[in-house]
């Protein structure tokens, strides 16, 4: 192990079944770790509670996008068709929210969707092309059929040997490896 040469990023523990990682995640949560994560090929139902995560705030980004979209639509149509260049067409009113609604509705959805997507990217700090975990060959299986927990060295409760023992003995990980930064 070359942990003397470069500082470790953390300890990576591998699991074979959904139940094992679920169990292990609850133990890590109860042990009070803060800088750790679970890596799975698909979202595991109930894992957020098992890890003790708060509810995702993506919805706020969606709301801000939608709010902006709706009022941009309404304001744009009022400005263009009533304020800047009033143009009578078919004797219809220059502006009512009724005919402005379909376009404003579409803009609500459009900007909500952008808000959701970029909100999710922002919260997840994606794209992120450099990740110490990618140096580990086993970790490639995290998008296939294996499950991983990584406890980062930056965690205040982290100790290389102590945490390794915790992951092997209490969490029953099949393999525990240290990952370098």
């Amino acid at each position: 192990m070359s942990s003397n040469l470069s500082k470790p990023y953390g300890l990576l523990a591998e699991f074979h079944t959904a139940a094992d990682i679920f169990e292990a995640a609850m133990r890590c949560r109860d042990a009070g770790f803060t800088k750790w994560d679970v890596y799975t090929p698909f979202p595991i139902h109930g894992m957020d509670e098992a890890m003790g995560l708060r509810k995702s705030p993506v919805g706020w980004f969606t709301f801000c996008g939608g709010f902006t979209g709706f009022f941009t639509g309404m304001t744009m149509i009022w400005y263009m068709n009533q304020f800047d260049y009033p143009l009578v067409v078919g004797g219809k009113p220059l502006f009512t929210p009724l005919f402005a609604f379909p376009v404003s509705y579409e803009m609500t959805i459009l900007l909500s969707a952008f808000g959701t997507l970029f909100g999710m990217f922002f919260l997840n700090q994606l794209p992120r092309f450099h990740n110490p975990l990618f140096k580990n060959d086993r970790f490639k299986k995290s998008t296939d059929d294996r499950f991983f927990i990584c406890i980062e060295a930056g965690d205040p409760r982290f100790g290389l040997e102590k945490t390794r023992a915790f992951l092997t003995e209490e969490c029953h990980a099949s393999v525990v490896e240290s990952v370098e930064d």
Binding site: H16, A18, A19, D20, H45, Y85, E106, P127, T143
Partner: protein, 476 residues
């Protein structure tokens, strides 16, 4: 039950065999098998049939773009359009293609909100179909304007003032349509891409060559499968599904406003929005079946796209086909009951006028053919289902043709009546649009996972930490 009483277990008794749902992935395939089977489709060497299919499709696409160049350089007269039918195949094709897209969004968004887990095997291909159909749809209304640069320039479609400082006028449903279709295309693309990110990461991690690794790596954005990410991701996915649902309903409603807001007999109808939406879903599911039935046998994906999937989609065809049939009847009833002689004439003329053949083609394909699916034997015969799905596609094209052309060709003044006949450019542009659609679809199945890998894994019992197959050792 006696056993559970004896052992004192607190869980409910096992349901009787008749009530146990068939598994979504057959033969208890492990998670790794799912990755190999689906990722294998785009990793193995190109299958032999792919090349002829691609070359034919590509030829169709080139034909279409050449004919569009001919149209732009010569004028819209190269299509058979003339007064009184100045909308014909162009807008028929537009509504046809945009309608096909709707099934993709229905499967990916509406069935997601309804917790229909079977959608996971078909949503990826259906969403791809949506995006490619919207691409095909967009071409027709853009180019039917002839001098496209005038239509796209500020003042008409794009919300900016033209040379006379006049803005687009938002009282026109045609402009609503521009916003609806472009929003639909964009949001469908975002939704599709969000769904692809974890699967692109799977392909990145399996990639052998540096080019594949780099490209899948870039587009998967460094996805790791972190649960902190999944948490935000799942919320975003749910929200996008929630946004796409009202969107898909609004898009075809707004498409129907193009007709319903006018005062043309046969178009000025309040039933249009729901009738168009049902028709769109009907046609889209027809196209999903047309594409997926060959796909599942060519790539041997029978364990993932099972007969149950085919059957469920047939039931959707039956339900939406019945709504469409009801709408046809109701239109006729209101034409009579409404008491407007022009309206009644428009409908009599549809069924018994010079375009009677298109009306009865529509009725036999859309009203009669879905009712075969009352029978389980027919729903589970894939060849039969595939043939009916083709009839659904044909019937729904005729529906739009009937609505557009039969309403326009005879208006209030008999001296201005006419008969629309398509030109060869009309025909070949439409045929070529299938080439464009299939070119995109064939590229999709070559380079991207045709089934949502992580989503299919998520609905297997192995994914459930409380299921014995997920490794659960008993009750805690």
């Amino acid at each position: 039950m006696a056993n559970s009483a004896k052992s004192g277990a607190v869980h409910a008794p096992e349901p009787p065999a008749a009530l146990v749902r068939e598994p979504l992935v057959l033969n208890n395939r492990p998670l790794g098998w799912i990755t190999d089977a689906i990722a294998g489709v785009c990793e193995k060497p190109t299958p032999v049939w792919w090349w002829p299919a691609f070359i034919i499709s590509f030829g169709g696409m080139v034909t279409m773009f050449s004919l569009i160049a001919y149209l732009v350089s010569t004028g819209v007269g190269v299509w058979g359009l003339n007064q009184p039918a100045d909308w014909a195949w162009d807008i028929t094709n537009f509504v046809f293609w945009i309608g096909i897209g709707h099934a993709g969004t229905l499967i990916s968004a509406v069935l997601f909100l309804l917790r229909q887990k079977w959608r996971t095997s078909v949503n990826r291909a259906a969403e791809a179909m949506t995006i490619f159909a919207v691409v095909c749809a967009g071409i027709f209304p853009v180019f039917h304007t002839g001098r496209v640069w005038f239509a796209l320039l500020p003042g008409y479609l794009f919300p900016a003032p033209n040379a006379n400082a006049i803005w687009p006028q938002f009282r026109s449903p045609l402009l609503w349509d521009v916003f609806a279709v472009s929003t639909y295309g964009t949001v469908s693309l975002l939704f599709w891409y969000v769904g692809l990110i974890p699967d692109l990461a799977t392909l990145r991690d399996r990639a052998k060559g540096w080019l594949r690794r780099a490209l899948y790596g870039i587009f998967s954005l460094g996805w790791t499968g972190s649960n902190r990410h999944w948490s935000n991701y799942e919320k975003a996915y749910l929200l996008l599904a929630g946004l796409s649902t009202p969107l898909v309903l609004s898009v075809h409603s707004i498409v129907s406003f193009d007709f319903a807001v006018s005062v043309v007999p046969g178009w000025h109808t309040t039933i249009f929005p729901p009738y168009f939406v049902a028709g769109a879903i009907f046609s889209g599911f027809g196209m999903v079946l047309t594409l997926l039935i060959p796909l599942r046998s060519l790539f041997k994906l029978h364990d993932v796209i099972t007969l149950r999937h085919v059957e469920l989609m047939c039931k959707v065809l039956l339900a939406t086909g019945s709504i469409v049939g009801y709408a046809y009847g109701m239109e006729f009833f209101i034409a009579w009951y409404g008491g407007s002689p022009y309206e009644l004439y428009a409908f009599k003329n549809r069924a018994f006028g010079p375009y009677w053949w298109s009306y009865w083609a529509m009725i036999s394909c859309n009203v009669i053919s879905p009712h075969f699916f009352w029978f389980k034997k027919l729903r589970t015969s894939v060849v039969f289902v595939w043939i009916v799905s083709i009839f659904v596609n044909i019937g729904m094209w005729f529906e739009r043709f009937v609505i557009i052309v039969t309403s326009l060709h005879r208006d209030y003044l008999p001296s201005s009546w006419g008969y629309f006949t398509p030109s060869w450019v009309d025909v070949m542009t439409f045929v070529g649009s299938f080439g464009l659609f299939m070119t995109l679809f064939l590229l999709f199945i070559r380079f991207l996972p045709v089934i949502a890998i992580s989503e299919v894994k998520g609905v297997t019992p192995q994914a459930d930490p409380h299921h014995p197959l997920g490794g659960a050792k008993g009750h805690h």
